[in-house]
Amino acid sequence: MTNAQGLAKLGAVLGILVFAFLPVAGLPAFYDSFFYLVFFWVSLATSWAILSGFAGYFSLGHAAFFGIGMYTTATLATKFEVPVLLTLPVAAGLSALFGVTIGAVVFRLRRLRGELFALLTLSVTFVIATVILNTPIDGGAGIFMSAVPIPDLLPTPTGTIYLLGFILCLATLAIAWTVAHSRLGMGLYAIHDDEDVAEAKGVPTFKYKIAAFALSAGIAGAVGGVHALYVGFITVSGTFELTVPLFVVLMSVIGGSRHWFGPAVGATFITVLLYAFISGGEAMVGRAIVGAILILSILWLPDGLIPALKKWRVRRAVSQPHRAEVAPVVPAARPIKDRNILEVRAVTKRFGGLQALAGVDLDVREGEIVGLVGPNGSGKTTLINVISGHYPLTTGTIAVDGVQIGALPAHDIARRGVARTYQIPRPFTNMTVLENVVAAAAFGGPSRSSKEIRDEALHWIGFTGLSGKEEVLPAGLNLHERKFLELARALAAKPKLLLLDEVLSGLNPTEVDNAIQLVRAIRAQGATIVFVEHLMRAVVELSDRVAVLNEGRLFALGAPREVMRDPRVVSIYLGKAYAA
């Protein structure tokens, strides 16, 4: 393994050296131009993927940022005679600023995802193109770059452009690698799979999306700046051409847009293919064949080439998965302290005309387990959603460990020690079990080194009996295991308060017993838990106190056996006559 890695590193270094000195090797200028185009598409496709592949915000407006870069460099170099190298950071900065501005507006609207985001970015492209066309920036005539002095980094101008493209390409890949292996990348991947859950696990989604947009647009701007030199004559119709963003998308998707190196593979593959046909004089046949390959690859490799290869390797490497079993843990004596961890005061929540919560007060003491029960539609899950910040409060206050959290965004609440599970498990579907738990630990828990986070994650994976499944994707787990993955993710955040939403629903009797043991084990560690549950046997067994909600109000509160025998409670469950 380390040997292979070393070999790959050596290969990469050698490759970089070879490519860096290629222009001075005396090859025909054709090669400079050809390789430049490969670098160009690799950079562009990779930069697109940082926002659209990693975070899943599919943009069709990449031509806009690339075009802004082109026109920035062209305008500064021709009209203001700024040295070309100095224009590149400006081009990048301006594009990034533009991306941030669009993001700041668009990312506030929850529904603007998927194809609507794609359309919006596409529209922005057309508007920018028209504005540039009709203002002195272009004026309809286009900009000639022939008079612009190209910096003499290398003896020939084509060599210089090649080198700039190459450096930019390396920088782009380095940025993509860094992002993919950083906290930012982990957050973006989580956003891609389920933005609400990412937020609830502590990912500052808005900030991260803006950062990704800035990076993506900024790189595209710099690439555009260099491309202005390559093209020499810049026109609006040539720059903001629709097929540019579409090809960028396809290159990334074919290679695997969630992987830092995927777009590079796709871009190289398609550029080489197109070029092969052009040089063979069959450009159009080539385009048609590329089109056909795209269709086939999207149908059969929807995740792209690199992930498909990785999956194949993992499938071969993974040992026989074994069944999740939890060793019985004897509950330790566990004092309930006087301090309140959770204080809910007069909380109401209204959805349009529906009053889901009509003034709920509830205190939960440190180390306590409170069962939250009530008939369907009584507001249990809404209360969990309100405490965890998924829905904003209508009125009232909520304090966790003395801190008011009612007005905070969900990711802030998660960071202040509130973790939750979902009734229907919502794992990050493209992340392995380990990655799922690591992300929850990294964003929800205290800040630690990545090694500690990983150990923490492994600990909880073992604790919930998922050992041996670390590298499995959630789709490979059964419902029972996915519920436990939910638990592992919540526990890895080391919460002060754990909110469990129907952990037991849908499990068969053996699995239920298994899960009850697990909750007991969690309790033994001194966690404070509020859990919504319909399986009354479990509620009675596990809770210190039971809170009964009915029609959005706290209806009864007390020791489980007493509360569940209270005639009033019996009557809301079974009807009046039954209680008598």
């Binding site: 194809e115 609507l116 922005v124 057309f126 396809l250 159009m284 385009r287 590329v290 089109g291 056909a292």
Partner: protein, 283 residues
């Protein structure tokens, strides 16, 4: 400020030109709104039809309406075949966009190989015919196009509204499971609708052949505007698509007259951006 006559003329030309936007938008709007498939190849199919009509007309002297009678059923088959592919591979919205883009690239390449990248024009003795109403010129072909588009839009709208098949389609678009529980065979209807959408591309293509100058790259020329029209007219609403098309056509034409021709694209996209930002529930 241009004269009233000029503005009036711009308005008339704009509305008539908008008929083409509306006609192209209809098929797209149906498949996107009711099948959740974004069909970029719609434009390619329209141009392919246009080239076929052009070929039959110039080489073999076939009248465009006879060509249309041949092309439209073929396109229906193509549309149904596309749906087979989408259904077979459980294609989602984004993947459908990528696949149909690739399909459009293939068609574009095919057109360029057979007809070359040269500009083609199907000259007929009626292609420049127009009549005068007061001070205004009304081009006949464009008027016919608008009438056809209106009939189709209204007919499709009524079909979706009044027939059981139409209601079944709309119901399945909202909740396919429950629609199935009442006997709606969504798949069968989807084949039909996908075919109809493509057939509309064939009809649009026939008019493109008669009105426009053909070049392979023109496939992409209307894409942006027509997408804006689809959204502004609301997904799955053919009448809305036509009205939005005429609205956008008129605004573009007025913008050309008042500002300058090059400002036209800003109109439709500004409207689209405003709608998306103002009320994303629009769809």
């Amino acid at each position: 400020m241009p004269s009233a006559t000029l503005l009036g003329q711009a308005l008339i030309s704009g509305v008539l030109a908008g008929g083409m936007y509306g006609l192209l938008a209809m098929g797209l709007s149906l498949s996107w709104g009711l099948l959740r498939l974004v069909n970029l190849s719609h434009f390619a199919l329209a141009f392919l039809s246009a080239y076929i009509v052009y070929e039959l007309g110039t080489k073999y002297g076939v009248a465009p309406w006879w060509s249309a009678a041949m092309v439209v059923p073929v396109m229906f088959g193509v549309g149904a075949a596309q749906y087979w592919l989408f259904d077979r591979f459980h294609v989602n919205e984004l993947a459908s966009l990528l696949i149909t883009f690739s399909f459009a690239v293939i068609v574009e390449a095919g057109i360029q190989i057979y007809w070359t990248a040269d500009y083609r024009r199907f000259e007929t003795h009626y292609s420049t015919l127009s009549f005068k109403v007061g001070p205004f010129f009304v081009p006949v072909l464009e008027l016919v196009l608008c009438v056809v588009a209106s009939v189709l839009a209204w007919g499709t709208w009524m079909w979706l509204r009044k027939t059981y098949v139409g209601k079944g389609l709309r119901a399945a678009a909202e909740d396919a499971d429950i629609a199935a529980a009442y006997g709606v065979d969504h798949r069968k209807l989807a084949y039909l609708l996908s075919g109809i959408g493509a057939a509309y591309a064939g009809i649009a293509g026939t008019f493109i052949a008669l009105i426009a100058t053909l070049a392979p790259a023109q496939i992409w020329a209307w894409l942006g505007v027509v997408f804006a029209v689809v959204i502004i007219g609301r997904l799955g609403n053919p009448l809305g698509a036509l009205l939005a098309g005429m609205l956008i056509g008129a605004s573009e034409s007025l913008a050309m007259a008042v500002l300058s021709p090059a400002w036209a694209p800003v109109v439709s996209f500004s409207v689209l951006i405003v709608i998306l930002l103002w009320d994303p529930e629009w769809l």
